[in-house]
Amino acid sequence: MSSDAMAIRNVQVGGQPWVQTLHEWVTTVDHKQLGILYILYALTFLVIGGVEAVIIRIQLMYPHNHFVSPQVFNRMFTMHGTTMIFFVAMPVLFGFANYLVPLMIGARDMAFPRLNAFSFWLTALGGFLLYFSFLGGNGLYGAGNAPDIGWWAYAPLPSRAFSPGFSSDYWTIAVLVSGFGSIGTAINLIATILCLRCPGMRLSRMPLLAWLTLVMSGMVLIAITPLSAAQIMLLVDRYLGGHFFDTQAGGSATLWMHFFWIFGHPEVYILIIPCFAFMSEIVPVFSRKPIFGYPVMVAATVCIAFVSMSVWAHHIFTIGMNSYANSFFAITSMLVGVPTGIKIFNWLGTMWGGKIQFKTPMLFCIAFLFQFLIAGLTGIMLASAPFDWQLGLSYFVVAHFHYVIVGGILFALFAAFYYWYPKITGRMLSERLGKIHFWLFVLGFHMTFDVMHIPGLLGMPRRIYTYEPGRGWDTMNLIVSIGAFIQGIAVLVFVANLVVSYWKGDTAGNDPWDAWTLEWSVSSPPPAYNFASIPTVASRRPLWDLKHPEDPDSRYE
C-alpha cells in the first residue's frame, strides 16, 4: 500500500497530468471555466482579427500600394469584420457574463450547465469553420479561398453565380452555428437571472451587470434569430435552388439588406449594453460612491433595447427608400441618443463629488465616456438621411462605427479585464504595464480613428482597394496606419501583462478594490461551488452592508 500512497503524493506534487487537465477543460460544465474558455477563445481571435486589420492598413498606407492582391484585400476586410463581431465581441462578452452573473446573483452555476457547454462549443465550431475556409474554401481542389463577400454578404454576392466554391458556405454556416450558440447562452442567462437569484436579491436589488445582461440576452433572442433565418434562406438558395434573394426570379436583394440589418443594428446594442454594464460596476467602485440613478439606468437600458429594434434601415438610406421610411428611421435613430445620454449623465453623476481613484480600470472607463460620446455624436449625424446620402459607405462611417466598437466596446472590455482579472486568476494585473497599455492605446486609437473621419469627408469610399495620389487622402491614410501599428503594440503590452501577471502579479485576495457586489465575497479564484452557503442580501451593495453594519444601504433603499 505504501507505493500507492507514494503515487498519490507524487501526483499532488507534480500537478495532474496535462491530458487530465485538458480533459477537464474540454468536458467542463462549470460556468467559470466556460467563461474563461470564452474569453481565451475571443482573445485568440482578437489577435487574428487584429492581424487582418493591420494587413488592411498596410495596403492602404500609400496610394497605389500592392502589399496584397485585390482578392486578398476583399478576404481580409470580410474576415476582419466577421471575426471581430461574431468571434471576438460576442464570445468575450458572453464569457464575462458567464463568469460574473452567477457569482453576482449568489448562484452556484448557470440554470442549464450542459446547455452552457454546448453553446460554447457551437461558437467554437463556428470560428473553426470560418477559418477552415482558408484551407477548404475550394473543396478538394487544393487552394484555399476565404469568404470575400463583405461581412454583410449583400445579395447577389453570396449567390452561386458570384460566389463559386464553398467559401460563402463556410461563412454562412459559421455565422449560423455561432448564432445558435449565442441563442443558447442567452436563454441560459435569462433563466439564470430570473430563477437562481439568492434570497433577498429582488430584481430591484440586482447588480446593474445582471440587469443589463438580462436585457442584452432578451435582445439576442429577437435580434440574432432574424440573421439565423436569413442564413437558412441563403442556404436554401445555394443548395436547394431557392429564389429568396435571386433577382432574376423576382427575388429581392433589398430584402436581404433588411433582414441583415434587423439583426445588424440591434447587434451593436447587444455588444454595447454589456459594456454599459461594466461601466456601471466599475465607475462607482473607483468613485467610492453608489451608482447614480439605478432605476433610471435600468429604464434607459430597456428603452435602448426597444428603440434599437426599429432603427435598422438607417444602414440602408443610400439604397433609396420613400420619404416616410427615411423620416421614420431617422427619427428613431436619433431617439436612441436620449436614453444613451441619460446613461452618460448618470456615470458623470456617479463620479461627481466622488473620491476618484485613477487605477487602470477607471482610466479606461473615463476614456470610454469621452469616446463613446463622440461616437454617439457622429452617429446622430449619420442618422440624418440627407447627411447619410453624402457620407454613407465612406470612411466617415468606418470611423464612426470603429469609434463605437473600439473606443466604446473595446475600452470598456479592457476596463473589465483589469477589474476582474484579480477575481479570475487571484493575481493583480501590473499597474505599470496597465498604464503603458492605456496611454499607448489612447494614442493609437485617436491617431487612427480621429483622422479616419477626414478622408471619409473628402470622399474616400470604404472597402476601396487602393487610391490615386493627390486627393488629400495620402497623409491621412499614413497617419491612420501608423496609429493602427501603435494600437497593435498596445495590445501586445496588454497580452504580455495578462501572461506575466498570471505568474508574477501581486496576490489579489478576495476583495482588492474594496467593492460591494457578491463576487468579491468569495476567494480569488472562486471555489468550484462558488458559495459555501448561499448568501442572503438586503440591498444593492451587500458587501457595503457587511463592512459597514452601522450604516447599511438597506436602511435607505
Binding site: 442549464f112 430563477c195 434570497p199 432574424p226 433565418a229 427575388g251 430584402l255 478576495n510 448568501p535 442580501v537
Partner: protein, 201 residues
C-alpha cells in the same frame, strides 16, 4: 482598505420569504420568443413575395385548405393539456392514453403535410426551386413541419418513459415544459394557416 480576505458571505438574520419561477418554464419561454422571431422572418418573406412569382403555379390555383389536419393539430393542444392534468393527479392510465392520442394527432398532421407536398410536386410540378411561391411556401411550411417532427420525437421519448413506468407527479413540471413547446408549435400553425391558406392570392 487594501487586499483583504476577511470578507465573508453575507447572510441575514431574518431572511424574507423567497420563491422564484421554474427555470424550465423560463428557458422554454425564452426559446419560444427566439423561435417566434425566426418564424416572423419567414412569414414576412412569404407575404413580401406573395404574388411576385414570375411563373406559375400560384397559390390560388394549387392550394387546398387542410381543414381536417388543422383540426387534428389544434385538438392535440387540448389532449396534451389534459394529459398534463392527469399526470398531476397521478392517474397514469389517463395520462398515457391522452399522450398517445396527442402523438397520433401530431403524426396525422405530418401525414397531411406530406400528402399535400406529394400532390403539389407530382400533380402541379411545384418544387422549392420552381418559383418564389414554391421557395417561400416550402420553407415556411417545412420549417413548421420540422418543429412538429422535433416535438413528436420528444413526445415519443416521454411516452417511452411513461410506458416504462418512470413518470409520476414529480415530472409534472418537466412534462409541462414540453407541452408549452407543443402549444407553441400549434399556435404557429394558426399563423401559418392564416397567411398561407386564408390570404392566398
Amino acid at each position: 482598505m487594501s487586499a483583504t480576505n476577511a470578507i465573508t458571505t453575507p447572510a441575514l438574520d431574518t431572511p424574507e420569504a423567497w420563491s422564484l419561477p421554474y427555470r424550465g418554464t423560463v428557458g422554454m419561454a425564452a426559446l419560444i420568443i427566439a423561435e417566434s422571431a425566426i418564424f416572423t422572418i419567414f412569414v414576412v418573406a412569404y407575404l413580401f413575395y406573395l404574388g411576385k412569382s414570375l411563373t406559375g403555379p400560384i397559390p390560388r390555383d394549387v392550394l387546398e385548405t387542410p381543414i381536417f389536419y388543422t383540426i387534428c393539430l389544434l385538438s392535440s393542444s387540448l389532449t396534451i393539456h389534459f394529459a398534463g392534468k392527469f399526470l398531476a393527479l397521478d392517474r397514469r392510465g389517463g395520462f398515457l392514453g391522452l399522450w398517445m392520442l396527442t402523438i397520433v394527432l401530431g403524426a396525422l398532421f405530418l401525414y397531411g403535410t406530406g400528402h399535400e407536398w406529394h400532390r403539389l410536386i407530382y400533380e402541379h410540378g411545384l418544387t422549392i426551386s420552381t418559383n418564389l411561391f414554391g421557395t417561400t411556401y416550402y420553407s415556411l411550411v417545412g420549417l413548421h413541419a420540422f418543429h412538429v417532427t422535433a416535438g413528436l420525437v420528444m413526445l415519443c421519448i416521454v411516452l417511452t418513459f411513461g410506458l416504462a413506468g418512470r413518470l409520476g407527479r414529480d415530472q409534472c413540471a418537466r412534462v409541462g415544459v414540453l407541452s408549452l413547446y407543443w402549444h407553441f408549435v400549434d399556435s404557429v400553425w394558426v399563423v401559418v394557416f392564416t397567411v398561407v391558406y386564408i390570404v392566398r392570392r
